[in-house]
Each structure stands twice: as structure tokens, then as C-alpha cells.
């Protein structure tokens, strides 16, 4: 296929760590094949050659944290036939989204010599808060096999499929004994979207939620269990408040745990209010 006939792909970066872009370069065995199947038209981390849009597919990493980026994502959307967000920053605002919970002035305890040199927003928001997104790939970082699967599906004209079930099913699939049940290890597996392959429980560590909430996450039930096991409210709040702190279900639970009702009063009433927050 000639270069012009191949679908063009652009990769864009907003506030992020580069890890999801790196996952593209981590497709070592498939990278040259991929480069043969599509035309990589804009991918600054990889190439100094860029081709003007429009692009058939844009992959967007990172969250929106500046006014410039509010405008830049509009431009990216305009030149993109399809737009897929890759990773926790782009889909939920990322770890830098913790600023969304800060009280006004809380992050201003340390001062720049010249604050007027810097222009940032008080919030870190996902791409979907600004422009329509065709598909969201979860993970901190994304799983590169999932990314390849999605690109392959698009090239073949198939509808890409993203799992909506929990990490628990992946643990069962690989025969990992449940850490939460057998040892009481705090684990977000029951409410976290599958996709990583249940990496943490396999190394004796509870899941810490890299892929964000499942479609039907019952976070209140899990938080109640963790509290009954003796976890402090602040720790429970922090557990939900990391890389996907801005995902609605995790956000609601982390807020609920900041000022939790007495343990005995917890239950279905709070679960409803958390859902109402989405």
C-alpha cells in the first residue's frame, strides 16, 4: 500500500508522563509492521517529520490543565476523523487531577519566584470534558496489547471492544488466590476495570486501581468492607484517590470517605448518593 493510501495516525500529548505513548513504542515486535499498516503522520516523540492533517485516527495522551490546551484539543478534534484517548490522564484527569480536590489556596503554600511566568488552570480534566471522544482506553499506563487490538479492529473496520468487567475475573482466570478474602489485603480489584491482566495480586499486592472503575462498580460496598477490616477513613479515601481520582465512581467514594458517616450507619443510602453524583 502506498503511504498516501494508508490510514494516517497522529499522536498528541497533553499533561502526562509519556508512558502511554511509550507503550506504542513498546510494541517492539509489531512496531515496524504497524508503521507499514498506517501512516504515522504526527508523533513527535518518534519522528521529526510531520504531515499536516486531517488524520484518520488521533491518539490523545494527557489531561487538560492550561487554557492553551483547552484550545489545542479543539484543534486536534477538528483535524481528527476518529479520536481515541489513551490512559488515565486523558480519560479521567490523571494523578495531576488531585488538584481538583484541593481547597482554594491549598496548593499555594509554596510559591514560585515568578508566578506570573506560569499559566495553569486550577483543574485537570479529561479530554471528554472538552470534545467528543470516540473511544477511551483506560490504564495507568494503557495495556499495549489492548491498544494494538483497538488499532487492528479499526483497520479491519470492526468495532473495538473494551472489557467492562472487573480485575477479579482476571485473577480467577490466572488462578490467583483472592488477597482480600484470604488475607484481608486491601484491594480495589472488585471495582476496577479489567485490562492489566491482574498484575498486582499476582505479586501479592492489592490492586490500586490503575484502570479506573468498572461500568457497575459498587465502591460503597467495597469501602464498607475495607473499613470493617480496620482501614482508616483517610486511607480508604486515598485508595480511591490516585491516578483515576477524577473517574466519577472513584471520586464519589473518595469524597464520601473524607467525611464518612459512623460505620454502623453506612449502607445502601450512601451507595445511592454516590451513583447520583455521576
Amino acid at each position: 500500500m502506498t503511504a498516501a493510501a494508508r490510514p494516517s495516525v497522529a499522536v498528541w500529548k497533553f499533561a502526562s508522563c509519556d508512558g502511554c505513548q511509550l507503550s506504542i513504542l513498546d510494541c517492539e515486535e509489531e512496531l515496524l509492521q504497524l508503521a507499514g499498516a498506517v501512516r504515522i503522520a504526527h508523533f513527535l516523540e518518534m519522528s521529526r517529520a510531520t504531515v499536516k492533517g486531517p488524520y484518520d485516527l488521533s491518539l490523545v495522551e494527557g489531561s487538560i490543565t492550561t487554557q492553551d490546551d483547552v484550545e489545542r484539543i479543539q484543534q486536534v478534534r477538528r483535524v481528527s476523523h476518529r479520536l481515541i484517548t489513551i490512559g488515565a490522564c486523558a480519560t479521567s484527569g490523571g494523578i495531576q487531577g488531585l488538584r481538583n480536590f484541593a481547597l482554594a489556596g491549598e496548593y499555594t503554600s509554596v510559591v514560585y519566584a515568578h508566578p506570573d511566568y506560569i499559566h495553569t488552570l486550577d483543574t485537570s480534566t479529561p479530554i471528554s470534558a472538552h470534545v467528543p471522544v470516540d473511544l477511551e482506553l483506560y490504564g495507568c499506563p494503557i495495556d499495549r496489547h489492548q491498544l494494538l487490538g483497538v488499532i487492528t479492529a479499526i483497520l479491519a473496520g470492526r468495532r473495538p471492544r473494551i472489557p467492562g468487567h472487573s480485575v477479579c475475573q482476571e485473577c480467577k482466570g490466572r488462578g490467583t488466590v483472592c488477597l482480600l478474602v484470604s488475607r484481608g489485603t486491601p484491594c480495589l480489584g472488585p471495582v476496577t476495570r479489567a485490562g492489566c491482566g491482574a498484575l498486582c495480586p499476582a505479586v501479592d499486592r492489592g490492586c490500586f486501581g490503575c484502570f479506573g472503575p468498572t461500568d457497575t462498580a459498587n465502591t460503597a460496598s467495597l469501602a464498607g468492607q475495607l473499613r470493617r477490616q480496620g482501614m482508616a477513613a483517610v486511607d480508604a479515601s486515598h485508595l480511591f484517590r490516585t491516578f483515576n481520582a477524577g473517574a466519577p465512581a472513584f471520586r464519589a467514594e473518595s469524597v464520601a470517605q473524607e467525611a464518612p458517616p459512623p460505620a454502623a450507619a453506612r449502607g445502601s443510602a450512601r451507595a445511592k448518593s454516590a451513583k447520583g453524583d455521576r
Binding site: A15, G19, C20, E45, T50, I95, V110, Y112, C140, D204
Partner: protein, 434 residues
């Protein structure tokens, strides 16, 4: 883009390619003299040092690894070292060896990425590795295989290549089985051969004739090439503890950058990274890497920034060789982590990220809550030196046409494998103080 009229000439690159993160460069020339240079960093700050405050000390490795997807292990190791320092804990040799193995994996992955995908295309006149592969597919496949094997080491020890999950303050959540570690030997033998071939390959490139006057800073540790521990030292006689370095480094905030520029109090700018490590530690390289360096024409010190690709390739040989000996002598740490009980205090941890020295300092309270965090990544330490390079390289290449000069300037930046994502993200806070 470059343009100019009469005696004035401006080279500017808005979106610098093949670096990690988003930056730009600008060079101004007037009457045959470079009058101004700037490596501009416009990555939005992510306020890590602010968002860490109030979190538990055990969370620092996972949270700070998200500063950089290219060198997450460096962040995890420096964070662990700082917290263990604060709590007065020393880990045993087996945990130290497993950390070093994980870190070797990151060096292999990151150096293979930089040498083959980011840096080599410059020397061969290619826009990227895909174009390079059209001319020399074997070379690019060799680089990708090396990178894959680095990732394999990280996955085996750390559970995942980008943001490993098995690292904790005190050590690891679980020790890999001896079988899993032994299975790394075969790919690492192959990687070592590929690394040797890499040294030969890059040694044959054409290098601009540039010699810079660097002040090098790197970790030094007894008779071995320092990676995950050691004392900061400089080419002009500095020898301090990590905490001592943290006290000496001052940072300044300039308009063109969302990163702070670091320098040593009372001294000129300095350089960290492969050239610095090599200059301060080349005598400790094991025979295979030392012979590869000599074969490539490197003396005990290299001050040509363009030849950093050769030094990086020598470090690839070293990292593969070192990983192999760690694999051969592996004994699972038991328990896999030291118990770390928090106590009120301050701790500093310094380790050698692939692109240079990275140090963290934390103040924690008696319950283990972080009260203060300071993270100084390699690129903010290197930024002033990169600009000095840019000035020198541009001045010595003014006879080139605009396009070629622009490319040469881009190279002057890529020589140091800057990680702009890292540099921007350690920023503290922005405030309108009225």
C-alpha cells in the same frame, strides 16, 4: 523553522521531536555571533510536590513513578531510598541486588530507545527510526529487541515495564522465583551481544568536532559503576552525601520554562547523565564494557556531546553484563521487603536515572504522612548545560544552511536525552501573589 534578514538569523523549533515531553528551542544569531539560546519547556506543570503532601510515605514510589513513563524505576528507587533514609532503614544485600537488576532493565530499555529510536536517526540523516528501518532494517530490529529484553527484565522483577507494580518502600511485594530470574539469562546473553554490536555501529558514525568544558556530577560507589546507590561526586572534587547534594543544589525560575533551573551553590552549571557517569566511573567498568569503550576509541573521559551515543552504547553493554551476573548470583530476598516503621524526620535518596542523577527529599511526620517533598530530576539539572552546548554547537556550525543548522541544534539538545516531562513536573506551585 528558520528565517533571517541581513545580519540577523533566528533558528526556532516549536515542537522539538524525539525527546520525551514537549519543548522547543530558539537560537538567535547577530552579525555572525550567537547572541541568545533557549531550550524552552512548555510542558504544563503537574504539581507533584504539592500533591504528595498529606499522602502516606508508602505511596511516594507509585505516585512519583507517574512523573515519567520512560524512567519510572528511577523515581521509585529514589523515593524508596529517601523514605528509608528518613526512617533509618538499610535494606539487605539481596534486596539491593534485585533493585539493581530492575534498574539495569530500565537502563537497557531507555538507552535502547534513545540510541536507536531517538538519537541514531540524526547521524544517518533520517527523520525517524521507521525511515532508518527502510535503509537498515537489521539495525532497527536489533534495537527493538534490546529494548524488548530491557522491558522483559522490568516485567519479570517489577511486574510491569511502564510503572512497575512490585516495588515498595523497603523492597518488593514479592521476590521473583529463581526459575523466573534464571529464564532471563538467555535473552540477556543475546542482548549483551547486541549491545556490543551497538557500540561498533555507533562508533562508526560521523561526529561533529565539538569539545565542551563540562562540570560532571554523578554518583560514585566504591569499586563499581553506581546505579541505585552511591555518593554524589563531581569532576572538580565534590564528594557529599545525597542530603549534602540536596543542600548544595539551588534552583531558579526563569520565564521561558516551566522547569526550574538547577545549579550548585557558588559554582557554574553542571551536567549529569552518561557522560558524567562515564567520566567519574569509567575505571570501574567491568572488562567487557571497558574493552568495548576502548575499541570505540573512548578515553577515560568523553567531552564531545555528540559522542554521548557511544557512551550510552557502552552503558548498554555494562547494563546487560551486570544484569547477567545479578541473574547468575540471584537469591530471592526473604522477606522480600524490610519492615519500615515511620518516624518523624527528613530523608534524601539519589539514584542514577538513565538520563542522569535524580534525587528526592521528603519530610515525614511520626505517622508517616508526607509534610514536604522536593524532587530534582536530571533534565532540570542539565538544562543550563544543554543551553551552553546549544550556544557552542550553533556558533561552531554557522556555516551550515538554515535547515542543516536547525537539525544540528536539535541534535545538540537530543545529545543529552532530555526528559521534558520529568523536568516540568517537579514544579511546586504557581500562585498569583498580590
Amino acid at each position: 523553522m528558520s528565517h533571517g534578514s541581513g545580519a540577523e538569523r533566528i533558528i526556532s523549533v516549536e515542537g522539538l521531536a524525539r525527546v520525551e515531553g514537549e519543548g522547543s528551542l530558539r537560537v538567535e544569531v547577530r552579525d555572525g555571533t550567537v547572541t541568545d539560546v533557549a531550550l524552552e519547556i512548555f510542558e504544563p506543570p503537574r504539581y507533584f510536590e504539592a500533591l504528595l503532601v498529606g499522602r502516606n510515605f508508602t505511596e511516594a514510589p507509585d505516585i512519583t513513578s507517574r512523573i515519567c513513563g520512560i524512567c519510572p524505576v528511577a523515581y521509585q528507587m529514589s523515593a524508596c531510598a529517601a523514605m528509608e533514609d528518613a526512617c533509618g532503614v538499610t535494606v539487605d544485600e539481596r534486596i539491593g541486588a534485585l533493585r539493581r537488576l530492575l534498574y539495569c532493565g530500565e537502563w537497557i530499555q531507555s538507552h535502547a530507545l534513545h540510541v536507536y529510536l531517538l538519537h541514531a536517526p540524526d547521524f544517518l540523516g533520517c527523520a525517524d527510526a521507521v525511515e532508518l528501518a527502510e535503509r537498515d532494517r537489521g539495525a532497527v530490529e536489533r534495537g527493538l529487541d534490546l529494548k524488548r529484553i530491557g522491558n522483559l527484565v522490568m516485567e519479570t522483577v517489577g511486574g510491569r515495564a511502564v510503572h512497575p507494580v512490585n516495588v515498595r518502600v523497603g523492597g518488593f511485594y514479592s521476590a521473583p522465583s529463581p526459575e523466573a530470574i534464571a529464564a532471563l539469562a538467555e535473552p540477556l546473553f543475546r542482548a549483551r551481544d547486541q549491545a556490543l554490536a551497538t557500540v561498533e555501529w555507533v562508533a562508526g558514525f560521523d561526529f561533529p568536532d565539538v569539545e565542551a568544558d563540562y562540570r560532571f556530577v554523578a554518583l560514585r560507589e566504591g569499586g563499581r559503576y553506581a546505579i541505585e546507590s552511591g555518593r554524589p561526586a563531581s569532576s572538580d572534587g565534590l564528594d557529599v552525601s545525597p542530603a549534602g547534594l540536596a543542600e548544595l543544589v539551588v534552583e531558579e525560575h526563569v520565564a521561558r520554562s516551566t522547569a526550574l533551573h538547577a545549579r550548585l551553590r557558588g559554582r557554574d552549571p553542571y551536567l549529569t547523565g552518561p557522560l558524567a557517569r562515564y567520566a567519574l566511573n569509567s575505571a570501574t567498568l567491568p572488562p567487557l564494557a571497558a574493552e568495548a569503550a576502548a575499541g570505540a576509541g573512548l578515553g577515560p573521559v568523553c567531552t564531545n556531546p555528540f559522542r554521548s551515543i557511544v557512551v550510552r552504547a557502552v552503558e548498554l553493554v555494562f547494563a546487560c553484563d551486570e544484569a547477567l551476573s545479578l541473574v547468575e548470583s540471584y537469591e530471592p530476598p526473604d522477606p522480600p521487603a524490610a519492615t519500615v516503621v515511620p518516624r518523624a524526620g527528613t530523608g534524601t535518596g539519589a539514584t542514577e536515572a538513565p538520563r542522569g542523577l535524580l534525587f528526592h527529599t521528603y519530610e515525614i511526620d511520626g505517622s508517616g504522612t508526607i509534610r514536604k517533598a522536593r524532587i530534582v530530576p536530571p533534565t532540570s539539572q542539565n538544562q543550563l548545560t544543554i543551553e551552553a552546548d546549544l550556544r557552542q554547537v550553533a556558533q561552531e556550525a554557522l556555516e551550515l544552511g538554515d535547515d542543516e543548522l536547525q537539525w544540528r541544534c536539535e541534535q545538540a539538545v537530543r545529545n543529552h536525552d532530555p526528559c521534558i516531562s520529568c523536568a516540568a513536573h517537579f514544579l511546586d506551585v504557581t500562585v498569583e501573589s498580590s
